[in-house]
């Protein structure tokens, strides 16, 4: 079945929902947002912490995600979840599938807002065994905040960026202990307040200039071996390790179309891009601003 819309947005995260809200409000016609997850909102859905919204009206991640969806809906956009954009059916058309079956959707403009993800252990080429207990922040946050799953008792966090400290918060919220943060960098890449709080008040050691040399354990993770820059190695006993940061674009659709993606635009007229897809790892607020800008670009005659 083939259907036409005016603007098709792929990805209902901060960038996609903000773009859809703007477009629907500016009279772009039928604006439809697709998301392959069951809930719209993108990454903020599972960021239980605050820091979202405006300084006037601070929100937690899930509350911010709900507000993005409400804003898009009240502007008149259609938000469809549980629908996957599989591949291109033409320059401005996509094959999709969902519980209702396959569908081809044609549009006058398509906005790719498919986001970004953290590189997992294998992509980082971390050697060792393949035990259970190896996470990215994305999986960890969903496990703890969306599903209430137990994750382990002692966790090492790889990275010392803002997202790494959020991962440490999530580990603690699940009732587990943070053994250490490990980073290749010379110092923490997060705010001084954040880093000092972790180190001094929470007494979580920060190992700088250190890489994860090996994962240990059969069945369940039993520890990790870290290597310092001088070559010395040490073993940290833990049953959980969280690989944080090192965001890469979730660009399958863009690459399937042979598109190069730039901030806002792509190599194909009528196809636009915004958010983490173009700047992996950017904040939700920046992604939302990118959504505003891409909406303006779509509306430009």
């Amino acid at each position: 079945m083939t259907r036409q819309v005016d603007v098709l947005v792929v990805g209902a995260g901060p960038a996609g929902l903000t773009a859809a809200a703007r477009l629907a409000a500016s009279g772009a016609g039928r604006v439809e947002v697709l998301d392959r997850e069951q809930q719209a909102g993108g990454v903020p859905r599972h960021c239980a912490h605050g820091g979202f919204g405006s300084w006037r009206r601070p929100l937690t991640g899930p509350a911010y995600a709900r507000r993005l969806v409400e804003t898009a809906l009240s502007a008149g956009a259609v938000v469809r979840t549980g629908v996957t954009a599989l591949d291109w059916a033409g320059p401005l058309a996509l094959h999709t599938v969902g519980p209702g079956g396959p569908e081809t959707i044609e549009a006058r403009a398509i906005v790719l807002a498919t986001g970004a993800r953290e590189r997992p252990r294998a992509a980082r080429l971390v050697p060792g065994t393949r035990p259970a207990g190896v996470y990215t922040t994305g999986e960890l946050q969903q496990a703890v905040h969306l599903f209430g799953q137990r994750i382990g008792t002692r966790a090492v966090i790889v990275g010392a960026e803002p997202v790494s400290y959020r991962a440490a918060d999530t580990v603690r919220a699940s009732g587990a202990e943070v053994v250490a943060l490990v980073t290749e960098a010379e110092r923490a890449q997060a705010s001084l307040v954040r880093a000092q709080d972790a180190r001094l008040r929470r007494r979580v050691p920060l190992l700088t200039g250190a890489t994860v040399a090996e994962l240990l354990g059969h069945g369940r993770l039993s520890g990790i071996r870290v290597r310092r820059r001088d070559g010395r190695t040490a073993e940290l006993a833990c049953d959980t390790v969280v690989f944080t940061g090192d965001f890469v674009p979730e660009n399958e659709l863009a690459r399937r179309g042979g598109l190069t993606v730039d901030a806002g635009t792509t190599s194909r007229p009528g196809v636009f891009a915004a958010g983490g897809l173009t700047r992996p790892g950017e904040s939700a607020a920046r992604a939302a601003r990118a959504g505003v800008q891409v909406a303006a670009a779509v509306m430009r005659p």
């Binding site: 996957t84 599938v97 519980p99 209702g100 050697p127």
Partner: protein
Amino acid sequence: MTVTTHGPLPDTPYDVIVIGAGVVGSAIARALARHPRLRTAVVEAQDDMGQGSSKANTAILHTGFDAVPGSLEARLVREGSRQLADYAAESGIPVEPVGALLVAWDEEQRAALPRLAEKAERNDYKETRLLEAAELYDREPHLGPGALGALHVPGESIICPWTTTVAYATQAVRHGVDLHLNCRVEKLSQGLLSTNRGALHTRWIINAAGLHTDTLDRDLGHDDFTVTPRRGQLIVFDKFARALVRHILLPVPTALGKGVLVAPTVYGNVLLGPTAEDLDDKRATQSTADGLTRLREQGRRILPELLDEEVTAVYAGLRAATEYDDYRITAHPEQAYLTVGGIRSTGLTASLAIAEYVIGQLPANGLELGPSRELERVRMPNLGEASPRPYQRPDLIAADPDYGTLVCHCERVSRGEIRDALASAIPPGSLDGLRRRTRARGGRCQGFYCGAAVRQLFEEARG
């Protein structure tokens, strides 16, 4: 249907117990299932089938063109290859007949190609053809510079090793074979297995314990061979790399050893490996920094653009190498015992023929098999990209919307497939087992998006 994972074991004696539910042990169990008078069991130390050498291999269905002519291995690979191709077609096991190219990178290797073609002839494989460099690059335009020519072996295929093992075991269990998982044999004596879950009595014992075959053999006083675990590390590249390669690119074996291969997988990835490291430790399934660096160096020469793509997974398997250049399948009728040893990397291809061969040994050695029956076919879920997956089938989705609800986005695994696997005859005992049955969480994000949701479905099903 009896599959146990814990608790006491049956008191009544079995007629035959197969030790090890790898691809070989499972194939033997399936062959025994044809004989309804036999009370048969398989015991497996791990929580699932195919957890040893069977899961970490190069996933190739060989022709046997390069086996040692006249060896048992050559014969069983040749027979098994055809049998498995037929079995895969009837059972829905993904196979892609992509063919192989043995690529020569220097004069020594080029000089070896005609000899390999002759060897293939002696192994009754006659379809090989020598390619000049120009034709080679026509076939593989992304191949690195400097290749001098190749030997084309069109009959080599890629296959899903996990589905194969699960299919054998499922068929065996559905026809009355008992499967006892998490059941490690600690001591073997004639007619008696002492396991971590208690004793099991049996008339006959078939030892298909892979890496541990020699240890169990010694329990019964046989010192016929020693298994030296040979580690093979492999890198699985992102699906974006699939367009870079059309054939299995095999190394040309020379006096300096065997190189590494680059091969597509039926799941749409590209495989690079394996290393070959002789070790002492039968649990050393970890990858190493050196191994991965070496593989990447070798891969860069073969297919330079491959290295620009992300790595989706890294794994390491141990092959059960012995000091012999052939399989070691030996019956000891006085002990009602048979050993299936030295099954190396060809075990997957040869598995059905090994099973036939083993069953064929039993009557002459004193085990009456009784009447034989045809087995009902199994139909396995399709994990391969060459045939439609459930999300690509409007008929399935119309009948059940769960097949249109994708949970694992990278691999496009639907809730329906996960539900089916969790309710199957031999359900997975872990998330890894679920991944091998469905591919869920096996893609490029490794669970960033779907890990928690998949775990939720797994835990709900387990209660």
